[in-house]
């Protein structure tokens, strides 16, 4: 099922993708990128869900969620050169019913544009 363009999704940002100074563009690069839908689970409820489930290995810490609108994401792909068609499919998981995946192969150049466009919500425990 396609996720509607009006929806916003978040990508969890962990220790391996942020070193205190810079974010890694590889967080948004590749295909079938895991994101989570705020229409299904609120941002507040995402924090304990992700902390309880996926802080592995030891020391890997959830630092932030990067939020982006689905239509905006598709527009970034459409306006990129060369053009890349992006959409989001809902792929619920047992532990996260809000889980979804970004379809389309995001290149490093496009990943950098997405990174520039996201709104970052920092963890209070950082």
């Amino acid at each position: 099922m396609h996720v509607a363009g009006e929806e916003n999704v978040v990508r969890a940002m962990w220790t391996d993708k942020y070193d205190g100074e810079r974010f890694s563009a590889s967080a948004f690069k590749g295909s079938d990128l895991s994101v989570s839908r705020l229409a299904v689970i609120s941002l507040d409820d995402h924090w304990p869900l992700f902390r309880d489930r996926v802080q592995f290995p030891a020391g890997r810490t959830l630092l932030a969620f990067a939020e982006i609108n689905v239509s905006k994401l598709a527009a970034l792909g459409r306006t990129h050169a060369p053009q890349i068609t992006l959409w989001v499919d809902a792929v619920p998981l047992d532990w996260n019913p809000a889980h979804a995946e970004v379809r389309g192969n995001v290149t490093r150049g496009l990943a950098n544009r997405i990174l520039d466009a996201v709104e970052v919500h920092w963890s209070q425990l950082r």
Binding site: A12, W14, D16, K17, D19, G20, E21, R22, S24, A25, S26, K29, G30, S34, F50, R53, V54, F56, P57, A58, G59, R60, L93, T107, R108, G109, N112
Partner: protein, 151 residues
């Protein structure tokens, strides 16, 4: 009167174990490791050195949100060292990241304040320069890439 003993087959003082024969003596391997540690400290700083060590020691198969994360690839690390050998030392130390595929990634800003990123893959590297180009190089092109990106 002197007596001459019959000649004996000469034996080596020691025989290396099977797992050591064919590889470098341990003193040379230790020197090589020491050189690599020094190189990491010089080019990446203590933070980058510590992060690489952390990724090497703690990120095993299946890390991450959906259990798909790959451990750090030794070939990616080899590519990183080849690149760092040629990269001029700078005050502006690169950030060190681990990709979900198990590759090392470096990121920094060049003298024109453009973001520069290099992901070291088992085959070489994939690079990106903001407002510029992106592409790939093989292992043999890593030293040239380091010099090009340092400008």
């Amino acid at each position: 009167m002197t007596k001459t003993l019959p000649p004996r087959a000469r034996q080596s003082a020691y025989t290396p174990n099977d797992d050591l024969s064919g590889s470098l003596p341990s003193s040379i391997r230790m020197a090589d490791e020491f050189h690599r540690e020094e190189l990491l400290m010089e080019k990446l700083g203590t933070r980058g050195w510590g992060r690489l060590l952390y990724f090497q020691r703690c990120y095993s198969q299946g890390w991450g949100e959906n259990g798909k994360g790959q451990p750090l690839s030794p070939r990616s690390v080899e590519a990183l060292f080849r690149f760092l050998e040629a990269l001029p030392t700078s005050e502006n130390k690169p950030s060190v990241f681990l990709t979900d595929e198990g590759n090392v990634e470096l990121g920094w800003e060049n003298s024109a304040d453009a973001a520069v990123q290099v992901e070291f893959t088992p085959d070489g590297a994939e690079y990106f320069i903001e407002r510029g180009t992106e592409g790939t190089v093989s292992h043999s092109g890593l030293a040239g890439l380091a010099i090009q990106l340092a400008r």
